[in-house]
Amino acid sequence: MIPSMELPLVFFTLLSQLAIGLTLLYALRTAGPSVQPEASAKTQWFVFAGILAFSLIVSLTHLGHPLLAPRAVLNLSTAWLSWEILIFILLFALMAATAYLGVTRRFVWLTAATGFVALFVQGMVYSPSSFPAIHNVLPFAFFLVTAVILGAGTSAWFAPQDTQPLLRWILVGALSAGLLLFLVAPCVWLSGGIVMRLTGLAYLASPLYWAHIVLGLAVPLAVILVSRRIPSWLPILLLAGALCGRVVFYLDTIHTGVNIGGLQ
């Protein structure tokens, strides 16, 4: 990874996953057959679209030549990255349309589904063979769990009271899944090849990784188990933890090129 180029990507992935998480949570909240769209649905969806738009702009600053960005969709035949850009633009369009044309059930579920697929495509972009530790479904799993955690957490700010318990359960589930996932992954890597083991060791030795585990996952889980509702300051903690986790994901995942000349 080239550190100087990665910061914009950290923010792009986090913010886009936040936006997708919010749409997923909105869909889950209003999933019930008799549930009417929430009062502030329109403004919510404008906010979701705004977050996604901002994340796309930030991703432009990662490019060496932003003005050539339109070329990024030319290689749909083989490049997941081209699909990622296409599907995120489509997602933004759907979010904006939903917000603009009215938050109908059909639109909500279509956007949520597109968001889910977007997470999968994004996961595939980040699992090249040059990073053995994440040359699998883990990036998608990381992104999905992060999206749900951030989505559920931040939804608590504006979701109606009657849906708070549902949010709380979803957040408990997501946090426990996240805790399990982020703790187990490095340990599994320790038993893999040299480069995979180096990645595991790098994660476990990184303070940011432990900040993500403790502040981003464990403490929030404990808090909402004890206080039976999601305190308003909790989403800040979740966002900060996710940020630390994502920086570790970019900087401490070891590339095979680093160990050429050594056993792989």
Partner: protein, 190 residues
């Protein structure tokens, strides 16, 4: 089999003198810090002496290049006539996806032009009928240009230890393993 050019890295003859790596700089004057051909010392778990055996590696001109696969702007092409994988500067948007995705670290990011760039097997020299700069400069003939269609060196290896094993890409580089001498040391220094 179709003509596919590649490098034969003879680690038995290679003395790690870096002449090939500097010959590439001598030919293309890359920005400081940007290295297209690097000479990697083998770690002691593979060759038991510190920095005494090497692999000289640049782009492997794979059969299924991952750089060509993942580049969103289709800035890479693979030449029909000899399988050279080329990068086209003007199409590159500087996203670094190829630099990230190539397991051999062949594409490098040029901070001055903010684009990726890599070894292009000196295709201009090939078209003019002369050897690539690195191959011509090797003093022990340890780095040779081969055509996989007609290459049949018996003790050649595609994935030696210390070289990422990526059979899906099918890199065109072939290797010969380094060898060890008989060593006679004073008793107290075994």
């Amino acid at each position: 089999m179709k003509k596919q050019l590649g490098f034969y890295v003879d680690a038995k003859r290679c003395i790690g003198c870096f002449a090939c790596a500097m010959a590439c700089k001598n030919q293309y004057h890359q920005a400081s810090g940007v290295v297209w051909r690097q000479v990697y010392p083998l770690k002691e778990e593979i060759y038991p002496h510190h920095e005494r055996a090497f692999y000289s590696l640049s782009c492997n001109h794979c059969e299924h290049p991952v750089c060509m696969e993942v580049c969103p702007a289709s800035a890479y092409t693979k030449r029909e006539q000899d399988g050279v994988v080329m990068h086209h500067q003007e199409r590159c948007i500087g996203c670094g996806n190829c630099v990230r995705s190539c397991p051999y670290g062949a594409p490098r990011f040029n901070p001055v032009t903010e684009r990726a760039e890599k070894c292009s097997l000196c295709w201009q020299r090939l078209d003019a009928g002369i050897d690539p700069a690195c191959v011509k400069s090797c003093p022990t003939n340890a780095l040779r240009l081969i055509n996989l269609a007609t290459f049949n060196e018996p003790n050649a290896v595609q994935f030696p230890p210390g070289y990422p094993h990526m059979s899906r890409l099918n890199p065109s580089t072939r290797f010969r393993q380094p060898e060890l001498p008989k060593i006679i040391k004073p008793e107290d220094q075994q």
